[in-house]
């Protein structure tokens, strides 16, 4: 998509209550007039291809003595986008980071419960092996201070058994890198000069480069931690469209503070509050017919 072309203006179904908007943190790329809207939602569902990749079973997570995730069970499916919403401190980012065991780099992290990837307990997998299957994109774009090409090539799986140092630019690596850039919708913008420093890209391009990097590892699951909160509305729209288009080939979990965003991109929504999973369901269920009072309060902007 041409990033300069604003998406069509359509009314967002969930946006009935005008006071939903103030609930968004400032600068969250929320611009009702220009935001992409139900156009994205028209494309779904693609239930035929949905298949479960990860399963979280009664998971408890703590930092030190403080339990930040309490007894959460969730499925993560390929073919759909799972959005986790909730106020700051509700444990959604911690839950996300536990899916590729990034919580373990924080000292004092403890857990109980089970997470499986395609039936295997992720704690039985070698941690770096797991992180190649479950890659992550962060809130702040964090490209490495190297060229665009090297950024993506860095994520490619090392091929053991070939021995010695990888040749820097074999045709195979070149193909994998351009493929990942294509999937992240960045290739056309950077094709001219892949040797350019990644730090010279705009924020939105950097974030798509990070997505390309995460995709280059050919993961089963892609984790997105508020990927648009540092971006402008146009970049946000581009990335949201990208997320929806990627869900067929990879299971996607996105943490977001932006309720409209969750509604636009997600098939299933999990609402968390103070570490507990309050409500889980399709986005229509959660946004239009929330079962729990706390969910109703949150999506109508009562707290958060």
């Amino acid at each position: 998509m041409d990033p300069m072309m604003p998406p069509p203006v359509r009314r967002i179904a969930v946006d009935r209550d005008p006071y939903v908007a103030p609930a968004q943190p400032a600068g969250n790329g929320h611009a009702p007039a220009a935001a992409p809207s139900t156009r994205l939602r028209a494309a779904r569902p693609i239930a035929a291809q949905v298949r479960e990749r990860m399963r979280i079973e009664s998971l408890w997570l703590a930092y030190g003595e403080n339990w930040v995730v309490r007894d959460v069970s969730l499925p993560v499916r390929q073919g759909e986008v799972l959005a986790m919403i909730g106020a700051s401190g509700s444990g959604k980012t911690t839950l996300l980071r536990s899916l590729n065991r990034l919580t373990e780099i924080t000292t004092g992290a403890a857990r109980s419960g089970r997470i499986t990837l395609d039936g295997t307990d992720i704690h039985e997998l070698e941690v770096n092996e797991l992180r190649r299957h479950v890659t992550m994109v962060f809130q702040q774009p964090n490209p490495f201070p190297m060229s665009i090409f090297d950024n993506v090539a860095y994520a490619l799986a090392e091929r053991p058994g070939r021995g010695g140092r990888r040749r820097r630019r074999s045709a195979e690596i070149e193909r994998a890198v351009t493929d990942a850039l294509h999937r992240a919708g960045l290739y056309d913008e950077v094709a001219g000069d892949l040797d350019r420093s990644a730090l010279r890209l705009s924020g939105g391009q950097q974030q798509r480069l990070c997505i390309a990097r995460a995709l280059a590892a050919e993961p089963e699951v892609l984790l997105l931690d508020e990927p648009c909160s540092a971006l402008d509305p146009i970049s946000t729209a581009t990335i949201e469209e990208l997320i929806v288009s990627l869900r067929e080939s990879v299971a996607i979990v996105i943490v977001t503070h932006n309720l409209q965003q969750a509604f636009r991109v997600a098939d299933h929504v999990a609402f968390m509050h103070l570490g507990e999973l309050v409500e889980y369901g399709t986005s229509e269920q959660v946004f239009d017919r929330p079962a729990m009072q706390r969910t109703r309060d949150y999506i109508s902007g009562a707290f958060g």
Binding site: L102, I105, R131, M136, F138, Q140, M146, D195, S197, A214
Partner: protein, 342 residues
Amino acid sequence: MAATELAPAPPSGSVIARAPRERTSAWPLIDRIGYYMCWAVGIGLCLIALAIVLFMFVKGISYLRPSLLLHSPAPSVVQSQSGGFLDPIEGTLLVAAIGTVLAAPLGVAIAAWLSEYRRPAWLARAVESAIEIISGAPSVVLALFGLLIFAQSFLGFLSQRAATGAVYGRSFFAAGAVMSVLALPLIVSSAREGFAQLPDRLREASYALGRTRATTIRRVLLPAIRPDIATGTALGMGRIVGDTAIITILLGAGLTIQPVGHTPVSSLLRGTGPTLTSYVYENSPAGEGLAPQKAYAAAFVLLLIVLALNAFVTWLTNRGAQPRERGRAYRLLRFEWIPWTR
């Protein structure tokens, strides 16, 4: 946007208000005294630096002849027949090279371990203290200690062995090795500074792609702190080039380079010889060489080398602050020809 629309012209001339200079007369007296003392000290420091450079420049230039740079020193009481200081220049470069080659990889490795692993914690604290002790130790103490080590008979292959079997413990390698200890703390602290300034999200990004800590250090962090490593290394070289105590104790103060044995490289490493610092010392009025004019000329050359190193450091640091683009000069300066930094 319509093309006919006129952009507002920026204001010019007296319309622009600028912040007035702060008036010190409104300050309390004690603040003013402190302020002016800072000024005075700063200016005094500038004057001292200027005096040194000017003095060495005038003295050095007046005695410096191109031939001095091209001839070896010769023993003579007559200044006109005592040759030049080619050997001291070579000696200085050799010691600096040995010291740097030993210190740079070790220093970077220590910094990487201290910044990225730090386990067990007691060992990390011990290493930090050890580095502080080394950086605080006077070089003459390090030199004495080095002599003790290198005079052990099992290290005889690193220096010269007398007919009686005694080991002298003096050689370019011995001096360079002890010099590397001198340079080590500078490289470690500079590299640690670099590691500390890298944002954690860089590390997380790499871990989240399934890369180990070691791979992250090798392929992301080290390339990112190349300017810091270069800065520390250049500072260390400056320290090495300028040290005299280690040279006089561990290299002797011969007039010319004296190789030991006949194997091409090892004969030089095991050999002894002068450096610019020892040459200046020997030929100064305090020494025995009786060639003060040549001491001035050599001191001038030494000063030039150190100033050039400093300028190089400043340049590298400024370069590091700018976004990096790839080019041939970039690759050379970022040491990309060293395989592990790619």
